[in-house]
């Protein structure tokens, strides 16, 4: 082989490897910077106390609490719908069904809708149509539900994370060997019994992965909750579904762009970012771990 050809080859391969290095390097840079800036303030008190002195002291517990409550509500809303939709697509839809194809197209497109448009949906449909309607029906027109609220933000994010749950669950259903379904039916079980006793239990790890990924998205997405329920400073923790709430991601946004004294609030900001990052990383790693273990088990069981 000609020497120039070999040199050119090595050069180009080197370039592609460099691309990987740059990407990984940026990731490392971000992590390093956030850890360096945020580790100082990180403490048990930071995680459990409320912010004080205009966000320069204290902690971010209300934001953690708000994020947790909201993602909990979101998960309760999205899991049944997402899992059932995946069950429909994989177990019940006849092959070649036009309806199922339509559902798939819809889910695919749902995954691509910009997050701010979800915010508009939350505002236009949930806050005003449903919330406003509820106020007219139950409150005699008094404003309670027709405004940004915990429940609407949670439901907005539930719709946003629906594709995540559907895809994970379908993957999990596919991993359950067809043999098991056959064996169950051959023993005189009905389709729904087979689903409930054999298929869903077998798909549980994958379904869990979907839940974990959904929570990770929910904790990090800010655009959909900008005007559907998130608030910057609330004196109390949210006590009802109709109140507003603090949120880690939203807190970071406001602190970074609208702080009256940037330097004074910077340490709190960095630590908040660190907390959010640690949270999403832990969740994503958990999902990856569950997925890896399922793949290994599926490989071993396929004898």
């Amino acid at each position: 082989m000609k020497r120039s050809r070999r040199v050119r080859d090595h050069l180009l391969v080197g370039l592609t490897a460099m691309a990987v290095v740059v990407i990984l390097g940026m990731l490392a840079l971000i992590l390093f910077d956030v850890v360096r800036g945020g580790l100082g303030r990180l403490s048990w008190r930071f995680l459990t106390a409320a912010p004080e002195q205009g966000m320069t002291e204290g902690g971010i517990f209300p934001a953690i609490y708000g994020t947790a409550i909201m993602t909990l509500l979101m998960t309760v809303a999205v899991m049944p719908v997402g899992v059932t939709t995946a069950v429909y697509l994989h177990e019940y839809a006849p092959p070649g069904s036009k309806l199922a194809a339509l559902v798939r197209i819809a889910v695919n497109n749902l995954a691509g809708v910009p997050s701010i448009v979800f915010g508009l949906f939350g505002l236009g449909f949930l806050v005003q149509f449903v919330g406003g309607g509820m106020d007219r029906l139950f409150n005699g027109g008094e404003l309670r539900w027709g405004q940004p609220a915990l429940i609407w933000a949670s439901l907005t994010l539930a719709v946003l994370t629906l594709p995540v749950v559907i895809v994970s669950t379908e993957e999990a259903l596919r991993a359950v060997p067809k043999d098991h379904r056959m064996a169950s039916l051959a023993l005189g079980a009905t389709k729904s019994q087979t689903l409930w006793r054999v298929v869903l239990p077998g798909a549980l790890p994958g379904i869990l992965t979907g839940a974990v990924l959904a929570v990770s998205r929910g904790a990090g997405e800010v655009a959909p909750i900008l005007f559907t329920g998130a608030a910057y400073y609330l004196p109390d923790l949210p006590h009802g579904l109709s109140g507003q709430f603090m949120h880690l991601g939203y807190h970071i946004y406001v602190l970074a762009t609208q702080s009256p004294d940037v330097d004074a609030t910077l340490p709190l900001l960095y630590s908040t970012v660190l907390v959010l990052l640690m949270l999403t990383f832990t969740l994503n790693l958990t999902a990856v771990a569950i997925r890896a273990r399922t793949r290994r088990r599926a490989g071993a069981a396929a004898h």
């Binding site: 064996a183 023993l187 005189g188 079980a189 009905t190």
Partner: protein, 259 residues
Amino acid sequence: MTSAFTEGPRPKLQAKGLTVRYGRKTAVDDVSLDLGDRQVTALIGPSGCGKSTFLRALNRMNDLIPGATHEGAVLLDGQNIFERELDPVDLRRRVGMVFQRSNPFPKSIYENVAYGLRVGGVRDRAVLDRQVERSLTAAALWDEVRDRLDESALALSGGQQQRLCIARALAVEPEVLLMDEPASALDPIATAKIEELVHELKTRYTIVIVTHNMQQAARVSDVTAFFYMGELVEIGPTERMFTAPRERRTEDYVTGKFG
């Protein structure tokens, strides 16, 4: 081409002009035969000859394959299994199946065997306990697992898993047992145990066994049916089928000229 056989004990299952198609491809072509009560009937033939499809028709597992259609009838104790009044779910309780590759559920040994009973509505723990013991005993597995019923079924060896699947099928007290190459994935010792088991079980159950191993068919069955390209070529007492078959194709297959 049809080939009928009526001799000996009354037939438990009867196929009458059964044809099964997958889309345009005909897998079973106008087959009529009788399966004698408490006998072992072996279905032999080269791969793709339709014997497994025929077997699956007997408990309507073909219903689950999209695009599969059938003509003709299958009578269980005189009643057509395809008629609307008979729920396939009930049929499969009376006609059990053991698959080629053992497929225990990822549950405990106990729960595997008890599965069919639970979905059938049996909740009484005492009844389940007793039935689990009876079935595992009938499958010659009880002594090996009696102390570890709560352990995962996947921890058993291949041969044990297959016997577990047999126990699982027996737990619902079927009348017919369909076995699709039950020992093909097992070593010789495990295979011998399965064959012994079949011999024991035939005193209580009607057994139909698909096998590509002719020696196994000869050892295990009372009646043998030879399938070729979807047709039933010949059926008769096993001894005669292997020593003095009437059809030329049967003789060719049995003597190993093709297959």
